[in-house]
């Protein structure tokens, strides 16, 4: 019986991995669409989102079934409860990719000099990959790295945001592309937040400690 339960849990993990893999692909595609200005790739991203949504429904049901039929406790309980929270995070990442893809027609020709936009996308993509790896391999160190990396992304985001403001002030003709780019970078920054949330859930699965909102655990004053 336990063996069967274990294989059901493995199925859940595999399902989450597959869904995460799909989303990682969407991230790659939308990054390419942005840098190449390819509307074809942008359309592909939107098409993939449907698959991700379907997987979300399937995995949600799997979690509810496991809760109802197996009365999981301890690690099993934490895995399933956290999966229920990780699944929508992954789904949201897919939505953010779609949002980015939708901006592709309005951001060309490029107005940003340098590779800051690529760095932001690359950093975010790395966080998502690491968060998924941490989940798959049960690696708490990796999860902590993800949480730490979020600050870097925030710094990059603010830096690009300020650059875009400067460009808009200097050249009103760039305002439309710049404001669309702001939406793009906001979405990258949001994806990094989702990755952080996933990493926090992974830590809860592995260690049973909720690391969210650390300020609440500090003594007042």
């Amino acid at each position: 019986m336990v063996r069967h339960f274990d294989s059901e849990l493995q199925d859940l993990r595999d399902g989450l991995m597959a869904m995460a893999g799909q989303v990682e692909e969407m991230i790659d595609l939308s990054q390419a669409a942005v840098s190449e200005g390819s509307s074809g790739k942008a359309e592909e991203v939107k098409a993939m989102d449907r698959l991700v949504d379907e997987q979300e429904l399937k995995l949600d049901q799997a979690c509810i079934d496991l809760l109802a039929l197996r009365s999981p406790i301890a690690t099993d309980l934490r895995l399933i409860a956290s999966s229920l929270k990780i699944i929508p995070e992954i789904e949201r990442i897919g939505d953010h990719c779609c949002n980015i893809a939708r901006r592709v027609p309005y951001i060309h020709p490029p107005i940003l000099a340098g590779d800051a936009l690529e760095r932001l996308a690359g950093e975010t993509r790395g966080m998502v990959r690491q968060a998924v790896d941490a989940f798959v391999n049960g690696n708490a160190e990796l999860a902590r790295e993800v949480i730490a990396a979020d600050d870097k992304v925030d710094v990059l985001y603010v830096q690009i945001y300020k650059d875009l403001l400067r460009i808009m002030l200097a050249d009103p003709l760039c305002i439309e592309r710049a404001s669309n780019l702001i939406i793009v970078i906001k979405n990258w920054e949001r994806i990094a937040d989702q990755a952080t949330n996933i990493a926090e859930e992974v830590l809860f699965i592995l260690e049973g400690v909720n690391v969210k909102h650390p300020y609440l655990h500090q003594p007042e004053g």
Binding site: M1, V2, S71, I73, T75, L77, E207, V209
Partner: protein
């Protein structure tokens, strides 16, 4: 020090320190140190033969009735040593009531079962006995079901009713602690639910220490859970913590059903 991680507001009712216990040459308990808090339900879980029932029975010395036993270490109730503190075992058993695995009513009427204890202590007055019977049966959530057939034999009741009668019988001597040795293992789910509901009520007034094989039951009714293995206390803590985040690998394996 006992293995627990919670600062409880309630006083310690029962305390074990380095308790060793043997039946003849066979060591059953090995250095148990544990605090049991007043007006809380504490559940002991663990595989068969881990010594959990023995530990429970130590607190009213009922095992001494039928076997040769050897005990070392300290066992206290309200800070007074159970073995050496001058508490006579008969008095101890009045203060520490027990409910057994199998419902074991006496082959007497329902009424006679409940007033068995009080009569032992010399209560003869009919009105007082009637009052005790009603109060105990009410506390055991049985009064409404049996008030019209108190003179009928307890053997005519269902298993779940018999077990609640046994609880009423234990309550009739006004104990401070209730020991329950797998009180629902012989009952169907509905009767089990009733007993669990009852334990929830009883722990407001009594200190409840129970042994159970049913993990979900421990989770449902107890405030503290202790895991025993091979005569040792592996881990004890607030039930929520034990069931979401046990510290010990063995506890985890046991409660999630991966033992052995």
């Amino acid at each position: 020090m006992p293995i627990t991680d919670h600062q409880e507001q309630k006083p310690v009712k029962l305390r074990a320190r380095n308790l060793d216990f043997s039946y003849g040459d066979k060591k059953v308990l090995d250095g148990i140190s544990m605090d049991i808090f007043a007006e809380q339900a504490t559940a002991i879980i663990g595989p068969s033969g881990c010594g959990k029932s023995t530990f429970l029975k130590c607190f009213n010395r009922i095992h001494e009735v039928s076997s040769e036993v050897r005990v070392a270490g300290d066992l206290e109730i309200d800070g007074v040593d159970i073995f050496r503190g001058g508490i006579h075992e008969v008095e101890l058993r009045r203060r520490v009531g027990m409910v057994f695995q199998k419902p074991n009513p006496f082959p007497k009427s329902i009424y006679e079962n409940v007033v068995f204890g009080p009569k032992l202590f010399g209560v003869r007055d009919r009105d007082i006995l009637d009052g005790i019977a009603e109060e105990s049966l009410r506390k055991a959530a049985l009064w409404d079901e049996v008030k019209d057939r108190l003179k009928e034999s307890a053997m005519s009741m269902s298993g779940g009713q018999q077990q609640r009668l046994c609880i009423a019988r234990a309550l009739a001597v006004n104990p401070e602690v209730l020991l329950m040795d797998e009180p629902c293992s012989a009952l169907d789910p509905i009767a089990t639910a009733k007993i669990e509901e009852l334990i929830f009520e009883l722990k407001k007034e009594f200190t409840v220490l129970m042994v159970t094989h049913n993990m979900q039951q421990a989770a449902r009714v107890s405030d503290y859970t202790a895991f025993f293995w091979l005569g040792r206390l592996i881990e004890m803590g607030p039930t929520e913590r034990i069931f979401t985040n046990p510290r010990d690998r063995m506890t985890e394996d046991y409660i999630s059903g991966r033992f052995g």
